[in-house]
Subunit: 384 residues, 2 copies
């Protein structure tokens, strides 16, 4: 969720532009005969890491443009023609290489007669949650040590974006006199206000930067940690009572930040798009302590989409199983997290080199921390 | 969508109860050694079609209860013990038998490295719509002749429920002084008001029965045809200007009603749960004439769930392909529509027999109509 649809300051835009370029260069370096998903082949594979412009020129061949969001686009002159770089989103296809080498182990097969029912586990609180997926979520968190799953209810969502809305619904009151304030410390994921206010709900309302929030009454504070867009580990900043915390932990995985301890919050949101790279599945999950909150979240998903794709849940279960197996029995690429951490490290090296060369921007410096999962100390290397 | 979460009048409840019973009997008749999906075997297969009570007793073994919705449940004394019949939903698992006999043809295989991106067709208006699925939607409508697809945009949704909300968002104005009224002729799908009002949107608001609607200003009229819950073919009923029509055609398939002609409305909603029986996929689609409406619907799905499960779309493409093939080259069960129409016919026969026997209720009588797809005349046999 947190990688998507950002509206950036100019500085953010440019830094992201560089990050994008570096990722494209890496892609070219890794996959010399790489063909992009839309069928066009990369025909421009000269040494691209000399200037920003030549890096950008690579983008013309590889970038999957999404022309509907022009506000975040940038036009540059590459190697002789106009080049449009769309900067408003990321896409976790960089993990494809890991998944390719897992072969059949991560392949899902679903016969036509399976999974026809609305129901996955009719008797459970979250009746549309596939039990196999729930089991693998718990195993994965235990393996990585990034979140406490004991005494939690799992609610599955169509991406963590849906779960964010489910949380807002669950924490609001139908009979409230005025909408509940929703805040987050700036800079925050720019889709938060858009999603929160798109229907002009009478239940909740975006109230901006948590640091300057001083309204009386109950409120919801979103804590995105590591944060999107700046990558810092975060805690609640509002210093007054009446707040309910929601932790968006989409990036709390060892490829992005050292795992210091198992997160132990009341409401925690995760997504496969950031953990395993499967954005196309649209699968997220929430770990929720309070049964009434969990029930209301389930109710929202019922009303919003009558449950969550079973096919993607079954596939997600298989994928998590393979991730866990890769942690226990690493291949030549290591576990998924070894592979992805290495990838992020390389990209940050290239990004820092490119930014140094440009002399125009600065990048945040992160302090190293000890990671209980990777058993080494390293500085955060944010996905965003 | 239209089969779900209904709050019924007492009469509706009882009629549905009988329908449920008959379906259970049929299930037992069809599948003597049938095992229900949750692993419990049916151990009670005596001749069940003698009294309502004995029919209900069958339900104890087969019914997948969903205890979270007690408002629509009914407790009866079956053959010696308490029996809880949950009447608040249907589930299209009755089509499983057709899909079983298609074998590998309808099986989907997705390797772990596929469909990782957010994007399905980055350059198109609906960037998260799988092109293969779009192609099969058009082929299916052409084969069945139930909807015009020319000069329409296809928008995919996480079930038609999400598309219903996308339509409301698309047809409302962010800067409107007051919420736009949403109406439908009673009796209407009872989830409509719940979904419409659950977030107390300032953009739109449920305004009840379309027949008694007399408020000035723009409005949205939902036309569900065949209608849920009563099965009648419908047209718009509001006789004043300023209305935009939305056609929910979830049940406009030859197993439920004669296909009189290709529907040719501005906004038409469909879902695989009713056409092929794959409710667990959570896949619906809209055929939309106006490009601006389609764009706003896409925007809603972006904000709501950042697209729609690729896995389920790919599976839906495969399933539609097999349905079309079954129309061109019918097997011993006929096409899916032959099979399903026969199933519905049998169920309605049994339902009418049971209702006659009870002497307590009446069922609607439908006039036969000519079906251009099945090439015969028959009376509607609604799924709800």
């Amino acid at each position: 969720m947190a990688m998507f649809f950002n509206i950036f300051s100019l500085k953010n835009l440019l830094v992201l532009s560089l990050a994008l370029n570096v990722s494209l260069v890496l892609r070219v370096l890794y996959e010399k005969d790489f063909e992009v998903n839309n069928g066009r082949s990369v025909d421009n594979q000269k040494d691209a890491l000399t200037t920003t412009d030549s890096v950008l020129s690579e983008a013309r061949a590889t970038q999957r443009a999404r022309p509907s969001m022009p506000s975040s686009s940038s036009t540059v002159d590459g190697d002789g023609g106009d080049t449009i770089i769309n900067l408003d989103h990321g896409d976790p296809t960089m993990y494809e290489r890991f998944w390719q080498q897992t072969g059949d182990k991560s392949t899902i097969v679903i016969p036509g007669w399976q999974s026809m029912s609305y129901f996955s586990d009719a008797g459970s609180l979250c009746w549309f949650l596939e039990p196999e997926f729930a089991k693998e979520i718990i195993r994965l968190h235990k393996t990585v040590g990034n979140a406490v799953t004991e005494d939690r209810y799992i609610v599955v969502g169509t991406g963590s974006t849906q779960l964010y809305q489910a949380v807002l619904y669950a924490l609001s009151h139908q009979d409230a006199v005025e909408p509940r304030s929703v805040v987050s410390a700036a800079p925050y994921y720019s889709s938060y206000p858009l999603i929160t206010d798109c229907l002009k709900s009478g239940l909740y309302k975006w109230a901006g930067d948590a640091r300057s929030f001083n309204k009386e009454g109950p409120f919801i504070e979103l804590v995105t940690s590591p944060n999107n867009p700046d990558g810092y580990v975060r805690q609640s900043v509002v210093n007054k009572s009446g707040g309910i915390l929601v932790h968006d932990l989409a990036y709390y995985w060892p490829q992005y930040t050292p795992i210091a301890s198992a997160a132990n919050h009341d409401i925690m949101l995760f997504t496969v798009s950031k953990s395993t790279g499967h954005a196309g599945m649209r699968i997220g999950w929430a770990l929720v302590k309070d049964v009434e909150v969990a029930k209301k979240m389930v109710k929202f998903v019922e009303l919003n989409t009558i449950g969550v794709s079973k096919d993607s849940q079954l596939r997600a279960a298989k994928v998590l199983q393979v991730v866990i197996h890769s942690c226990q029995y690493p291949t030549s690429l290591g576990s998924l997290f070894d592979f992805a951490a290495h990838l992020m490290e390389e990209r940050w090296k290239l990004l820092r080199a490119a930014v140094r060369q440009s002399g125009l921007f600065t990048l945040p410096e992160f302090s190293p921390g000890s990671c209980s999962f990777l058993n080494r100390s390293f500085a955060p290397q944010p996905g965003k």
